[in-house]
Structures are given as C-alpha cells and as structure tokens.
Amino acid sequence: MKTQGMFSKSMLGFGLAFLYVPILSMIVFSFNDSRSVTVWNSVTSPTLKWYGELFRDTQVLNAAWLSIRVAAMSASGAVILGTLAGLVLARFGPFRGRALLQGLTTAPLVMPEVITGLSMLLLFVTLEQLLQFMFGWQFDRGIATITIAHITFTMAYVTVVVQSRLATFDDSLEEAALDLGARPARVFFRITVPLILPAILSGWLLAFTLSWDDLVVTQFVSGPGSNTLPMVIFSRVRLGVKPVVNALATLMVLVVACGVILSAILMRRQEQRRKREEQMAAAG
C-alpha cells in the first residue's frame, strides 16, 4: 500500500505542476517589460504597461463584447433546451425515439469540432439558399448563426449535468405534488426546478465558458465582420507570442479562479447548512 501511495501521490504532484506551470508562466510574463515575452527584463519589470495597452486595444475589446453577448445568449438557450432534454431523459421513462435523443445529446460531447463546425455552416448555407429561393429572404451569417451553433453543442453538457442531477434523487416529491392535484407544469416549476437549480446554474456557467472559449465552430459559422475573442487571439498568436495576450490571459484566469473558488465556498456553506438542518430535523 505504502509504495503505491507514494507513487500515485508524486504523480499527482507532478501532474498538478504540469497543469499550472504554463498558466503561472503566462501570468508572470504579463508583467514583463520586454517585447520578447520570455526573457525577463529585470530592470524595469514588473510593469503594467501591457494591461494599459490591452484596454486601449479596440479590436480586442469589441471582440470580447461580442463574445460575452454570444456566450450569454447561447448559455441561456442551452440551459432551456438542455434542461428539457435532461428532464425528458431522466423522468419520462421509455418512449419512442428515446435512444435517438440520448444519442443526439451525448454525441456533441465528443464530436470533433471541425465536423460540428462544417456541418453547421453547410446547414446555414442550405437554409440561406432555401429562404432565398422560397421567400426571397436574405440573411447574413453572424451573431445569430454563431449563437445557434453554440446552443447546439453546449446544450449537450447542460443535458448531462441536469440528467445526472435528476438521477441522484427519485421522483417521489414530484409524484406527491401530482397526487395533490398540481398540474405537471406547476410541479416542474415549483418542485423540479428548485431541486435541480445548482445543476442548472453550473450548466449555464459551463455553457457560457464553452461558448466564450470556442474557436473552431465559430470560425466556420461566423460571417465577415463578426470576430469573437478567440478568433482575434488565434489570429494574433499564430504569428508568435504577444505580451498583450498574456495580460488578457491573466485577467481571464483571475476572473475564473475567483468565480470557481467563490462557488466552491458557497456550495460548501450550503452543504453544511443542509446537513445541520437534517440533523436538527432528525433530533426534533
């Protein structure tokens, strides 16, 4: 037992170092006062000049604003559709086509992004032609097509989160409410939604992050002029390391770290309160 424990523990340490050294190096060099990013200029560093440059960079700022709008819209859409799909899969029992729905919701989790991107774009092109031919409508690819594509691949994650949350408790509460005469819709909003609210929230955040971060699918479905933040970053870093990108990365890591740690603390508090209430209920 002992040697095995030592081995796996040292691998854990190594793995965590492997995960964090690149991120830390990015953070450290975002304060470096030198164009050649990786050579530390010890005379004038640390400096905040790249952060200043970042906030004057309108291309990055515009792209970030577009990305935030797309991510918020697609996360909201994905939460609605994904919650419905998760509910159907976890609660509705067998129905015709259930296996297909299950397959359609888990496939996007592993589907290579180039395939999803290509197929979505070809769908939009076909729709464009169809609408043009039938009604004479014209639409340009842009924020709408990006959002639809993002909803489609992020709703799979929401579905899995919601479905596995619903699977952890049985439907006796919902059945009780139905027996007491509540309509299904009422049961859903009064019983089911509060129970799975943590899953819905983390699903929304997950969908937001995935949408915010997506490059490949977006590159396929976006039109001219609608560049999201990952597209701007990618086109810049392809030509080498850029200190401004390091500053941007540092800010993003900071926001995410704060968010994740905060949510962990909140969840822990909630868990403790729940335990205390259970104990009190058992004692009383």
Partner: protein
C-alpha cells in the same frame, strides 16, 4: 352521442370528441403540453441543427466541386442527376471523386495515419499520468479531495486556446524550458527544437485533455469498496496484486470513458497542431479546414468529415454505452 358512437360516422365522432371543445384543453394540457411538447422541443432542435446537417454534409460530399461557384459546388439534388435507365431502373449519379482522392492522395493517407497515431499515444500518455492522479485524489482525505478536484477543474474553466498558447512561450527556442536547461542546469549548449514538433503536439493534447481523463476515472475510483482491498490483503495478496486484480478491473468503465473522451476529440484536433505542431505533417482536421477555407473545395472537406465520422462512429457508440451505464448506475 357517446364517444363510441356506432356506425360509419364513429371515427368522425371520436375525432370530434377528442379535439372538440369540451375535452380539448384538458387533452392538450395533459398530453400535449405536459409531455409531447417537452419532448418535442429539444428533439426538434437537435434534429434540425445536429442530425440534418450531417445529411447535408453527406449530400455535398457527393457533389462536384466548382471552385468559382457560390456556393462552390454543384448540387447533388439536381434532377438531371436522376434519370431512368433503359430498363426502367432509377439511376443516381454520385460523384465519388472526393472519396477516391481521399484514399489515394499520399498527403491525405499520411495525415489520417498521423492523426490516429497522435490521438492514440496522447490517450495512452493521458492515462499513464491521469490514472495515478485520479487514484491519489480518491485516496485523499475529504478536504484535500475537494481541493485537488478544484485544482483539476480550474484549468478546464480557463480558456483552452490561451492554455495552448502558454506552451509556445515555454517550448520555443528562447523559451523558458530551453533557458532553464541552458542557463541554470547547463545540460545543453544549444536550444532544443521543441516547438513545431510532434512532441509539442503530444504535450499540448495531454495538457488540454488531462482533466477529461481524470474526472471520469475519479468518479469511478471514488465509488470502490475499500473492504474488497482489505479482504485481498487479509487473504495474502500484495498491494500490486490487489491493485491488478481488484482496482484495475473495477475501474475499467472509468478508463474507457476517460480514454474515449480524450481519443475522439484528439483525432479531430485543430487548434493544438496549428499552434504547436509540425508544418510539414498536418493533422486531418487542419487538412479539412484548409480544403474548405483555402481551396474552397467543399465536397472534399465534406468527404473528409464523413470519413472521420465513420472512423469515429464505433468509439462514439462505445462512449455512449459507458456514459449511459454511468447515468444508470447513479440512479441506484
């Protein structure tokens, strides 16, 4: 007028009664709004935006490229493609030129093989690193366990693109690793060429996909019954033997789920090889994107997508099998 009104008009009465005013709202509320609609909304969305696109891709992969057209291909569902042969059989003209090209052009063949090789070995490396990590986390005390899990998940929430980008700074000729080896350890005199090699691609994939390997493995290992290991020890099995005969077989679903979660997207990885990889040996996703964006050969890009999908359909179904099993297991 009962529901089962006799005679020839019976079905009509039934129909009217079903959808007529008195019961209609009730019927809709109970059957439509309550269930069918709820099933229908996500179903339709996925059919229209996930399944139908594949049919379109399939369709275009059989089309003839016309690089100057808008869109740049000749439609397959053009009626001239369907014609009746002399003996009355329906003939459909499909252009399999794109597929023929894929399997005979050396550039494509080597990209396929390279992609599969990279994905396979990245999965193996991920497993070799991820398994001990997941194991150590599952053995840690509850407090540490949560901290470790948080540390594993945290990078996953930060931008994938930026994490891959961070490796450029580490791996390039005047990057941190080379500086460290040359100026601090003095083990090398010349910088090692690490960026734009297969090594960098492996590093990038293992680095980006490691959480996907660890999390399913952990959720499996955490559920193991410790008394089994104690029993094995009491019966005289050494730690390695107990691990090989109990823990390893029990963790098989986790190993499969984690490996497939790494392998399948890695075959079609685009960003990592574009930023870190070789310029002379492309992975298949890059070829697809180049074919699409640079050469504007949509049929060929579609054919690449279809072949990739066929290649991955078995792993995807295996993954879904394990995924469903996992969800079923949570129910109990």
């Amino acid at each position: 007028m009962s529901r089962d009104a006799p005679g020839r008009l019976g079905p009509l009465w039934t129909f009217l009664f079903r959808f007529g005013p008195p019961r209609w709202t009730e019927y809709v509320l109970k059957n439509w709004a309550g269930q069918r609609l709820v099933i229908l909304v996500p179903y339709l969305w996925l059919l229209v935006f996930f399944l139908v696109p594949f049919l379109i891709v399939l369709n275009i992969s059989f089309a003839e490229p016309s690089p100057l057209g808008r869109p740049p291909y000749e439609a397959v569902f053009d009626w001239s493609l369907f014609r009746w042969a002399e003996d009355g059989a329906l003939q459909i003209r499909l252009m399999i030129g794109s597929y023929h090209y894929l399997f005979n052009e050396p550039l494509y063949v080597s990209s396929w093989l390279y992609s599969i090789k990279v994905a396979f070995f990245s999965t193996v490396f991920c497993l070799m690193l991820g398994y001990p990590m997941a194991y150590a986390i599952s053995r840690a005390s509850p407090t540490y366990r949560n901290v470790f899990l948080l540390l594993i998940i945290l990078p996953f929430w930060t931008s994938f693109l930026l994490r891959v980008y961070a490796w450029i700074g580490l791996l390039k000729a005047d990057g941190l690793i080379n500086q460290f080896l040359m100026n601090w350890l003095h083990v090398i005199d010349e910088p090692l060429a690490m960026l734009n090699t297969s090594f960098a691609v492996y590093i990038g994939i293992v680095y980006s996909y490691l959480p996907f390997m660890i999390l399913p493995l952990y959720s499996n290992l955490e559920k193991h019954d410790n008394t089994l290991l104690e029993a094995a020890q009491d019966l005289g099995a050494g730690p390695i033997r107990a691990f090989a005969r109990i823990t390893l077989p029990l963790s098989f679903p986790g190993v499969m789920a984690g490996s497939l979660l790494v392998f399948i997207p890695a075959v079609g990885e685009y960003v990592i090889p574009s930023l870190l990889g070789r310029a002379d040996q492309l992975m298949i996703a890059r070829l697809l994107a180049d074919e699409f964006f640079l050469n504007r050969d949509w049929p060929k890009a579609s054919a690449v997508a279809i072949v990739m999908l066929l290649l991955l359909v078995v792993p995807i179904m295996v993954f879904q099998h394990f995924q469903n099993k996992e969800l079923e297991a949570q129910k109990r």
